[in-house]
Symmetry: C2
Subunit: 169 residues, 2 copies
């Protein structure tokens, strides 16, 4: 994880067999680990809170949210996958499970015989409405309550900067 084997393997890494590896210096290491550990821990915490208190994983929650925010509360599978940062396959499995819960149903797409629409049911919407306050409170507690307004601004700036790079694969 930590990109810093040189300190543990000084002799071997001095050789630099790959040519010139741009190793991280001490400050970069520290920034990298802080970012990595905090995002892992925070995601884990938020997901656990949500799952344990509502029975809805963060992945499912995201699907319900994305559907709830479109008019008609329905989306093509592939659009839904994109918005959820999910692979098609993963979404397909997940929607099958949400169908079993009665929260989503599939419907063939009228415009395109290949397509499927995922439609949020009233039960699904109700489940989302029940879960949302719990999740918001969790995000407040573990994220916003810990940060100054300036830090929130920095967080947004960082995130958007990285997204500009990551969004185009």
């Amino acid at each position: 994880m930590t990109v810093h084997v040189s300190s543990a393997a000084p002799g071997a890494s001095d050789e630099d067999p790959m040519g010139d590896v741009r190793w991280l210096d001490v400050d970069e290491q520290r920034a990298w680990r802080a970012w990595l550990y905090s995002s892992l821990l925070l995601q884990d915490r938020l997901d656990r809170d949500l799952t344990h208190e509502t029975g809805i994983s963060h992945a499912y929650y995201e699907i319900l949210v994305q559907l709830s925010e479109t008019e008609g509360r329905m989306l093509r599978m592939s659009q839904l996958a994109d918005r959820c940062l999910s692979s098609r396959s993963r979404l397909s499995h997940a929607v099958s499970r949400l169908e079993e819960r009665g929260w989503v149903r599939r419907q063939v797409c009228p415009d395109d015989g290949r397509g499927q629409l995922a439609v949020l049911t009233d039960e699904g919407f109700a489940a989302l409405e029940a879960a949302a306050p719990i999740h918001v409170e969790s995000v407040r507690t573990h994220l916003f309550d810990q940060l100054s307004p300036q830090q929130v601004e920095n967080m947004r700036d960082l995130g958007e900067t990285l997204l500009r790079h990551l969004d185009r694969p």
Copy 2:
């Protein structure tokens, strides 16, 4: 995921059935989504790069790194789990698989008959040495090359602030 059902359910959420939910405002939403999506995408990208180019997942990589950085290249299972931000169970499964690859071996702890030591083998160390340059380059490309020095500083500050909160469960 996005904590923002109110806009999709204005009527219902006006009721505020939970008392007073501290919903996110537009700026907070934006900061939250930027943080969430960028960290999801970045972790995904780094993990995929590493897995596809070296056959070592980020989780395995972290285990190897932590072992490589201790003298004797060995750690108690529970210490290793803590350093990898892993549950005991998860680590136990993972070490079993690393044992099958011949990269780690288990050894009963001399001080404590209940304990096990995970020991990094020479083959494991060699695998880590081969993977490290690839991973560093990936972290450079997708993270540090995208950020100004000020942004790196902000990233560290943010991460460390959040860790102070998250580290004590």
